[in-house]
Structures are given as structure tokens and as C-alpha cells.
């Protein structure tokens, strides 16, 4: 087994970090931050498959995240469904929705696709805010704890391991996908759409497929967030969260699964670390973002790998 490949070495490294990290998590607050990193990373790994590998933009993925969160919340809190059943039904529902919405809008390209996904996200956000009978509107709603076979899942420490395992699973599947015929088809579409089509790739089918998969990743992350935090508000469904997610993917490095994880971790941690700067927080945050894109235009991880390769050749 070659430990230098992403699928073995990279996964082992990620597993080691997840295992060792609790030693550094001095209190529940830092556990919360770590869980938030994990959740965002899961969404970004899925979103990177769509944006980074297949080259299709989505400015509405917070909508899928929100549907996952509210789907689980509503089915368990309002209708008394067992959390597992709610999770399964919500995920399936989001997959079907992504399929139905994806077919027409993924025929669009570039800015037009960005606008269409943006619109989709905004519609979901508006529905969540206005359907206050179901969702609690802008005030949000509380969500019952996750239970499985009578065992409850509660507390930061327990959720840390659940989210950690889910992240490992997400990364493993993403790495598998990109090195499969289906994954090659996506990268080929990004490289040359007409070249891919004459090679026998059904562009629409491939794009819609990866749109659905990335939506499912976001939805699962949303469902986990709802049960973990026990209370959800429409803030995480809106436009700004979508932009945040895309920024994480771009910052970490497009077409790099571990880059997406690093992007999610950096942009989740940075605001926490910058709180000491008080009112200058956003100024420094913005400066860091601009500097990254100027000096590391391919995003953090791919730029780093390229530098290392250059050094090696010298």
C-alpha cells in the first residue's frame, strides 16, 4: 500500500488528527468549534465535488443544508418521527428535490447557473422564514435529541466522534468518487465539455448526479447540526451561508478534497481567533482572504503542493 496517495496517507492523517485533537480541546467551547469545523468540512467536501471537480457553481447550497436541518427538526419535533426515520426521509426528499431542480438549471452555464442556484437558495430561505407554523419563522425552533434504539446522543464529546466519523466517511467517498469512471467523467466535463460529450459522457446526467450527491452531503450535515445543537434558526439557510461555503472551497483549493477540509477549518477557526481584535475582526479577515487569493491563486492546498513539487525538482 502506498501511503503517499491521498486515499491512504491523507485519510490516515485526517483520522490521526481527529483522534488526537481532543487532547487540545480544553473545554466544551472548543469542542463546539471543532464540531462546527467538521460539519462545514462535510458540506465543503461535497460542494467541492460540484464546484472544484465538475466545474459547476452553486450559490444555493446553504438551502440544502437548511432543508436537511429543518426536515429533521420538523419531522421529529412536530410529527414525533424517530430521528433516524426523519433523517432518512429528509435526505431522500432533498435528493429528489435536487434531482428535479438540477435537471433544468444545470443546463445553464457560468453566471446564469450562479443566478439560478442563488435564486433556489433564496426561495428555500424565504419558505423557512415565512412558514412559521412549521419552522418557527425567524425565531427558530428547538429540535429533540438524536436517539437510536433508545440510546440518546447528547453532549459535545459524543457528537465530536459522530461528526469526526461522518467527515472521514465523506472524505473517503469523495476520494473514491474522483478516481472512478464517474469522477473522471466530471473532471473531463470541467476540462472540455464537448471533448467529454464526444467521448460518450452524458453531460446533463453527470452534472445532475453530482449536484444531487453534493446536496445530500449538505443535507446530512444540516440534519446533524439540528440534532446536535438542539435549536435551529434560519441564519444558516440564507444567502450568506452559501457564500461562506463557496469561499471555504475556493480558499482551501478547488479540485482538492483535503483542500476543502482545510478551507472549512481555516474559515471556521479564523473568526474565532480574530475575536481578540474586536471591531477590527472583519477587516483582518478580509485582508487574509484577499492576500490568500493574490498569493495562492489556486487556493491554499494546491498552491502548497505545487511549491513543494517545485522544490523537489530543484
Amino acid at each position: 500500500m502506498d501511503w503517499r496517495t491521498p486515499r491512504t496517507g491523507g485519510l490516515a492523517l485526517l483520522a490521526a488528527v481527529i483522534l488526537v485533537l481532543p487532547l487540545a480541546l480544553i473545554n466544551n467551547y472548543w469542542y463546539e468549534v471543532a464540531i462546527l469545523v467538521g460539519i462545514n468540512a462535510i458540506v465543503c467536501v461535497g460542494l467541492n465535488l460540484l464546484i472544484g471537480y465538475a466545474g459547476q457553481i452553486s450559490l444555493g447550497h446553504a438551502g440544502f443544508f437548511g432543508l436537511g436541518a429543518y426536515g429533521s427538526a420538523i419531522l421529529t419535533a412536530r410529527y414525533g418521527w424517530p430521528p433516524v426515520a426523519a433523517l432518512a426521509a429528509t435526505t431522500a426528499g432533498v435528493a429528489v428535490l435536487a434531482l428535479v431542480v438540477g435537471r433544468p438549471i444545470l443546463k445553464l452555464k457560468g453566471h446564469y447557473l450562479a443566478m439560478a442556484t442563488l435564486g433556489m437558495g433564496i426561495i428555500i430561505s424565504i419558505v423557512v422564514v415565512t412558514e412559521d407554523g412549521l419552522t418557527g419563522g425567524p425565531d427558530g425552533m428547538s429540535v429533540p435529541a438524536f436517539t437510536l434504539f433508545g440510546l440518546g446522543l447528547a453532549g459535545e464529546r459524543a457528537w465530536y466522534w459522530v461528526v469526526g466519523a461522518a467527515l472521514l466517511g465523506a472524505v473517503w467517498m469523495a476520494l473514491n468518487l474522483i478516481e472512478s469512471p464517474a469522477g473522471r467523467a466530471l473532471r473531463a466535463l470541467h476540462g472540455s465539455e464537448v471533448g467529454a460529450q464526444v467521448s460518450g459522457i452524458d453531460a446533463t446526467r453527470a452534472k445532475v448526479g453530482i449536484f444531487v450527491i453534493s446536496a445530500v452531503f449538505a443535507s446530512l450535515a444540516g440534519s446533524m447540526t439540528a440534532h446536535y445543537s438542539g435549536f435551529i434558526t434560519p441564519g444558516k439557510v440564507g444567502f450568506f451561508h452559501s457564500i461562506e461555503l463557496v469561499t471555504m472551497v475556493v480558499f482551501g483549493g478547488m479540485a482538492s478534497t483535503f483542500g476543502a477540509v482545510i478551507g472549512a477549518a481555516t474559515l471556521t477557526l479564523l473568526p474565532q481567533l480574530l475575536t481578540v481584535l474586536k471591531e477590527y475582526e472583519m477587516v483582518v479577515f478580509g485582508a487574509v482572504m484577499v492576500a490568500t487569493m493574490v498569493f495562492l491563486p489556486r487556493g491554499f492546498l494546491p498552491s502548497l503542493v505545487l511549491e513543494l513539487k517545485k522544490k523537489k525538482q530543484k
Binding site: E179, P181, R184, V194, G195, V198, S199, G200, G209, I213
Partner: protein
């Protein structure tokens, strides 16, 4: 007489008011090298795009192996056994050379989403096979030295061959090459020439869209000449070369006299 593999009947394509291809008809026999030639702007590439589904014709129809395939999407034509290369390269520069060729095998691969996400055992076995066959194809087109290369690190001449290897990945019955020798030097052109002959010998019908007269005259069994979107004449190299209409269409008629 055997039925033609490809029958093109009165195919036209208009871009706004411009008729890029105007009522072109011809038949292609299986297993031969066929060429489409003509001066710049004669509509050669447009015609190729019509045959491979990149554009839908404004009128006329295309019959491939007895079935009407007019206006079918490129991936459906690929599934029926058509493959092509491009004049302006359509390489996947974000992938390795080997992966480019593996994409060419797409239709013969297990492309299911679940098997891909969970990396099923059958998929792993298929991947090994795919890698081996892609490497073999690269050697066949003379790219044995580039098995480990990234596509964006390869020279132009090698990329032209890479597109041919990718096209062969689908085991096509009909292979359409759009100016395979454009931008190549004398030696590279001769090598491409030899490759085309080998392809035809292996039973693939080759359609060559070319500018390079020397290449066309040397290898073609059948030539279709276009000018201003219309078919000027067709036939063997000998016949085309001596057709006064063809000589007139090529202002540089000296070029024809040369070969």
C-alpha cells in the same frame, strides 16, 4: 453493392444568414480512409460537427449503419460507434494523459454513482483493466514515453496523438479526425500518416478533414471536396486532382500540381 456505413443526404447548416454547409450529400464505405478537403472556410469543420452531433443540421439527414441519427446528441452518437478529434484541441488539461485516454473508454466502464462512492471490488478490477488498456492505446499511437505525464505538460504534437488515443478508447467503427496534421512538422506529419494507415488496416473507417494536400492524397481511398459550403466533387485522389473545378477553387493550384 453493400450499403454505405454513413449516408449524408442534403445536409445544410445555417448560422444566421450564412449557409456554412449547403445541401451536401455523400456516402462513406466501411473500412476506408475518406477525406473531406476544401479551402479555408469551405465548411469542413462545420460538416464534421454536424456528423458528430456537436451541431444539429438545419436540414437534411445523416444515416449511420442503417439508422437515422440526424441531430442526435454527441454522447449518443459515441455510443453508436462514432469518435472524433478536434482541430482546436479539446484535451482535458486538468487530468493526466492516461486519464484522458481512460475517459475515452467511458462507455465501456462501470460508471454507477454508488459503486464509485463506495469503491466496489468490481470497480477496482475494472479500473486496473482500464488503466492497462489506456496505456496500450497510448503506446499504439506512439505515446509510450508519456504514460506518466500530465496532459498540460505535453507538447502540441503529442496532444494531437493523445486525442486519437482517447477517441480509440471507445473502440469506434467510424473515426473522424479534424486536421490531425495541422501545426505539425514534416516528420510528425509522416508519423500521423502512418498511424492513419494502421487505423484503417485495423478495420476502422477513417474520415479525415484536412488542409494538408500531401497527407490527403497519399492515404485517401475517397475524397469529398467542399467549397463555400457546397460539395464540389468527390472520388479517388486521381479524379479529384484532375478536376478543373477543384483546381480553380484552390487559388494556390500550384500546391495541387505539386503532389
Amino acid at each position: 453493392m453493400i450499403a454505405p456505413q454513413l449516408r449524408v443526404t442534403a445536409v445544410s447548416k445555417a448560422f444566421g444568414g450564412v449557409l456554412a454547409v449547403d445541401q451536401v450529400s455523400f456516402d462513406l464505405e466501411a473500412g476506408k480512409v475518406n477525406s473531406i478537403i476544401g479551402p479555408n472556410g469551405a465548411g469542413k469543420t462545420t460538416l464534421l460537427n454536424l456528423l458528430t452531433g456537436v451541431y444539429a443540421p438545419s436540414a437534411g439527414n445523416v444515416v449511420f449503419e442503417g439508422a437515422d441519427v440526424t441531430g442526435l446528441a454527441p454522447h449518443l452518437l459515441a455510443a453508436r460507434g462514432m469518435a472524433r478529434t478536434f482541430q482546436n484541441l479539446q484535451i482535458f488539461f486538468n487530468m493526466s494523459a492516461l486519464e484522458n485516454v481512460m475517459v475515452g473508454r467511458h462507455l465501456r466502464e462501470r460508471a454507477g454513482w454508488f459503486a464509485a462512492l463506495l469503491r466496489s471490488r468490481r470497480l477496482t478490477a475494472g479500473e486496473r483493466e482500464s488503466r492497462d488498456e489506456a496505456a496500450e492505446l497510448m503506446r499504439f499511437v506512439g505515446l509510450g514515453d508519456y504514460l506518466g505525464a500530465e496532459a498540460d505538460a505535453m507538447p502540441y504534437g503529442a496532444l494531437k496523438r493523445l486525442e486519437i488515443a482517447r477517441a480509440l478508447g471507445g473502440r469506434p467503427k467510424l473515426l473522424l479526425l479534424d486536421e490531425p496534421a495541422a501545426g505539425l512538422n514534416q516528420t510528425e506529419t509522416q508519423a500521423i500518416n502512418a498511424l492513419i494507415v494502421r487505423l484503417a488496416d485495423s478495420g476502422v473507417t477513417v474520415v479525415l478533414v484536412e488542409h494538408n494536400m500531401r497527407l490527403v492524397m497519399g492515404v485517401s481511398d475517397h475524397i469529398v471536396v467542399l467549397d463555400y459550403g457546397r460539395k464540389l466533387c468527390e472520388g479517388t485522389a486521381e479524379r479529384v486532382r484532375n478536376d478543373p473545378k477543384v483546381i480553380e477553387a484552390y487559388l494556390g493550384s500550384a500546391e495541387l500540381a505539386q503532389c
